[in-house]
Amino acid sequence: MIQKANHGDMRIVLEVWRQSATGAPGAFEEYEVMANEHMSFLEMLDVLNEQLVEAGKEPVVFEHDCREGICGSCALTINGQPHGPRSRTTVCQLHMREFEGGARIRVEPWRANAFPVVKDLQVDRSAFDRIQRAGGYVSVNTGAAPDAHAIPVKKENADMAFDAAACIGCGACVAACPNASAMLFTSAKVSQFTLLPQGQPERERRVVAMVDTMDGEGFGNCTNHYECEAACPKGISVTNIARMNREYARATLKQRGN
């Protein structure tokens, strides 16, 4: 192994979107940063912010928290790619070694009507919460549950449900979709519960309520570009979208039948 102490410094030119508030006009500002290939992208932005504070300028606002790819806070579009160039990697886990020294990197917020910019690179993703509120749960009061082993679940289904449940709600799917559609996010939750026995009693009600809420939030429609899947840091598959489409039609027929 090559020991890389102090090696790997790299100069980066950043173009960062600065916008003071929702609806205010925004523009790119250019900064130069001395980074290191072992830094994460967000650590590079930390360095930038230190630099800005030192120079008496307001630091760049960006969302982040866990910095290990699970909370879904971080949300940057890097050179037109939500979460940047590395597949299945959130921007907090993206490291500068993915870039060339001297690179020019353009950083934008997620862009979608349903995700208005709050400030700089921070957007408002509360539309996702509203979609979940419409039905992304099993209605069971605390204490009313039967013994856990009373509900066996086929392992294949449990695994598929887990694959869908791995969504971190980051919004990269919307950001990457040419139509700013939220189908991947919504379908991930619908799929999780469609695949599990616990989800059956509310199966029809859930998909209808969640899709209708999604439609009301101003997201675009899905025209099957599959960009969402490619951008998703958790590898959520577009087969979930197909499943949700089916479920939605099925729910309509069933409700009609009742």
């Binding site: 912010n49 909370c71 509360s126 919460d129 509120r133 749960y137 549950a145 039967p146 709600g169 989800g199």
Partner: protein
């Protein structure tokens, strides 16, 4: 002991279902503890107002927990029981926790699993369709339920769903991007909070009949930890300053297998699952200053120090022992990597023995994560690991009802001190957070709501005006300093002091001098910190500055506690108190108690209170892993 919780529940007053809607409950923090509490209380009929600093409750730090959650289900039939889980937890806590609390925790652990499964949490399953369990953190039985490496995420999403259902039903009003900046008391009872809206900068007043603090742990006092960047002690500390006692602040847990720092810019540390130690062998070069790449160091010139010192447990010694030993070898100058603060965790033998395929099946995702962060391929090059701060056992003092010393203020989850004593066992924090939220508080809250006569209070009350003014003044002061150093620069320096003098190993001299240095640095902070921008919009530096200001005060309390606790126990290792083998040496005669600190005034040392710990069920022994 077995019946204490049922008896207590029976003895507790009840709030009639029709009356519950007359009570407003504030829940601050919507991680596992707060989310579970908010949902359950709303289901019962209380009016809940819930607050979090994130843009969605789904992002609370609980989301990051990887390993799993314990429960005494005995689904594996390997002899587990409520009593055994209780016993293991008390012992694991190095006999510094309350027996009755821990017993209750073990009892309700089984209900948690039932609840979560009913919610659709996708726990790992076997081909028969039933739940799988694994043994975790050296436990002798397989009682850990898990959802791949994302157990915390799945549990939190379950609680988030339960909350969402109640938000939709109009029973929870959810306030995101709100930071609690002060607690409001009326007639000595907690009756509300002041929040700062992190988007608009506005200060808001919220009144209720009771306040639940579920705001997580204080690990970020170290600056570098495995905690999320926004984790803070602010809500708990400000409640402390309003009169809630703080218990055992010196108890912190250091996790042995984290990815080491790569440079000064490092912003946080990433945990690698403990399970790696099942197959990885820990070693350092036997010779100081050996700069050869690991593959060039022959077997005979490596020191597998855990296997050497602990022949029977080897690489699987408990967290604190593994951590301390890594520090010892690095302090001796044997550490590896660019910073010299790392040891090797080598899978070479395991790969040769079981094949790359088998290792990939077991740890593939962890290896991938490691590669992503470090750029090294652990199939070919040994991993480099180093301990990092991971969990804080101390917290606001609470009684059996989870009520703090301020009537009407309840504290749940990692924010309280209650169940883990001086050391927490793996997979038991998730269990505690959910136990507190789903099962304990819904019963015990009645002691306050039905037990006390509570006058109607509105936000017009002068106590709200006073608290709001004081919170504003605090922030205004930070904005007005306009010094020369950034908030992060101060935080980093504070973290360094805390890590060096109150980290894995502490001693009286270090603690005393550390405390002095903290005071000096704190004074500098208040004169020289630079917070730019507008306080009336999103201002992340102002948020950080407020939190770091509290960490400064907290750090001093922590050092003080560590100094006063003149023994070693669990994660608190005082160098002066060790056995000949270098193990923690407890002093049960003088220190079998909880230390609860009462705030006096800024700059003065707090007043010590002691809650003696009585052990009826568990026999005190000394741990040995030789």
């Amino acid at each position: 002991m077995d019946e204490r919780w049922s008896r207590h529940k029976f003895d507790l007053k009840l709030v009639n279902p029709a009356n519950r809607r007359k009570f407003d409950v504030i829940v601050v923090g919507t991680g596992l503890a707060g989310g579970a509490a908010a949902a359950t209380l709303a289901e019962m009929g209380y009016n809940v107002k819930a607050f979090c600093i994130h843009d969605s409750p789904r992002r609370a730090h609980s989301i990051a927990a990887q390993g799993g959650i314990n429960a005494a289900k005995n689904y594996k039939g390997d002899g587990d029981s409520v009593h055994r889980l209780f016993y293991d937890t008390v012992k694991g806590g190095d006999y510094r926790s309350r027996e009755s609390n821990v017993h209750r925790l073990a009892e309700v652990s089984v209900d948690i699993i039932d609840q979560c499964v009913a919610q659709g949490v996708p726990f790992a399953r076997e081909y028969g369709g039933l739940l799988d369990n694994r043994s975790f953190g050296g436990a002798q039985v397989a009682r850990t339920f898990y959802a791949r490496g994302q157990t915390g995420q799945q549990l939190l999403l379950g609680a988030y769903g339960a909350m969402n259902r109640m938000i939709q039903a109009g029973k929870i009003e959810m306030y995101t991007k709100r930071e609690m900046v002060d607690l409001v008391q009326v007639d000595g009872v907690a009756r509300g909070i002041i929040t700062r809206n992190l988007t608009t900068g506005e200060y808001e007043r919220h009144a209720a009949h009771t306040v639940l603090l579920c705001t997580g742990g204080y690990g970020n006092v170290f600056f570098l930890s495995t905690n999320a960047k926004n984790s803070n002690v602010t809500a708990a500390w400000r409640a402390h300053k309003r009169g809630a006692f703080f218990a055992n602040p010196c108890y912190t847990q250091i996790h042995p297998t984290c990815i080491p720092r790569s440079g000064d810019y490092q912003s946080k540390l990433t945990l690698m699952s403990e399970s790696l130690r099942n197959d990885g062998r820990v070693w350092v070069p036997a010779q100081k200053g050996d700069q050869r790449p690991p593959s060039d160091i022959p077997e005979g010139e490596r020191d597998y120090y855990l296997e050497r010192k602990y022949p029977s447990f080897g690489n699987l010694v408990p967290r604190d022992v593994a951590s301390r030993n890594a520090k010892t070898v690095c302090d001796e100058g044997l550490g590896v990597g660019p910073t010299g603060e790392a040891v090797y965790l080598d899978f070479g033998d395991a790969i040769r023995r079981d094949g790359k395929k088998a290792i990939e099946a077991r740890y593939g995702n962890l290896f991938e994560m490691y590669e992503r962060i470090t750029g090294d391929n652990p199939y070919e090059v040994p991993m480099r690991i180093y301990p990092a701060v991971h969990y804080t056992m101390g917290g606001l003092w609470v009684d059996y009802n989870l009520e703090s010393t301020i009537p009407g203020l309840f504290v749940l989850g990692e924010a309280n001190f209650s169940d883990h004593g001086a050391n927490r066992l793996g997979a038991s924090a998730l269990m505690q957070g959910l136990a507190d939220g789903y099962f304990v508080i819904p019963a015990t809250i009645a002691s306050h709501l039905a037990g006390r006569s509570l006058q109607a209070v509105t936000t017009e009350h002068e106590a709200f005006a006073e608290a709001e003014a004081s919170a504003r003044a605090h922030a205004d002061k930070l904005m007005s300093i306009n010094g020369s150093r950034s908030v992060d620069a101060f935080h980093r320096e504070l973290g360094n002091i805390v890590w060096n003098d109150c980290g894995m190993e502490r001693n009286a001299d270090g603690l005393r001098s550390g405390m002095d240095r903290i005071r000096t640095l704190r004074d500098e902070f208040w004169q020289d910190v630079k917070v730019l921008g507008d306080p009336a919009t999103v201002n992340q530096d102002l948020e950080k500055a407020g939190r770091v200001a509290d960490f400064f005060e907290f750090a001093e309390a922590m050092f003080n506690d560590a100094l006063v606790r003149d023994e070693s126990c669990g994660g608190h290792f005082r160098a002066e108190h060790q056995t000949e083998e270098g193990e923690a040496k407890r002093d049960d005669e003088h220190f079998a108690h909880v230390t609860a600190w009462e705030h006096t005034e800024a700059g003065k040392l707090p007043v010590e209170h002691r809650e003696p710990l009585a052990f009826e069920e568990v026999k005190l022994t000394t741990r040995s892993y030789k």
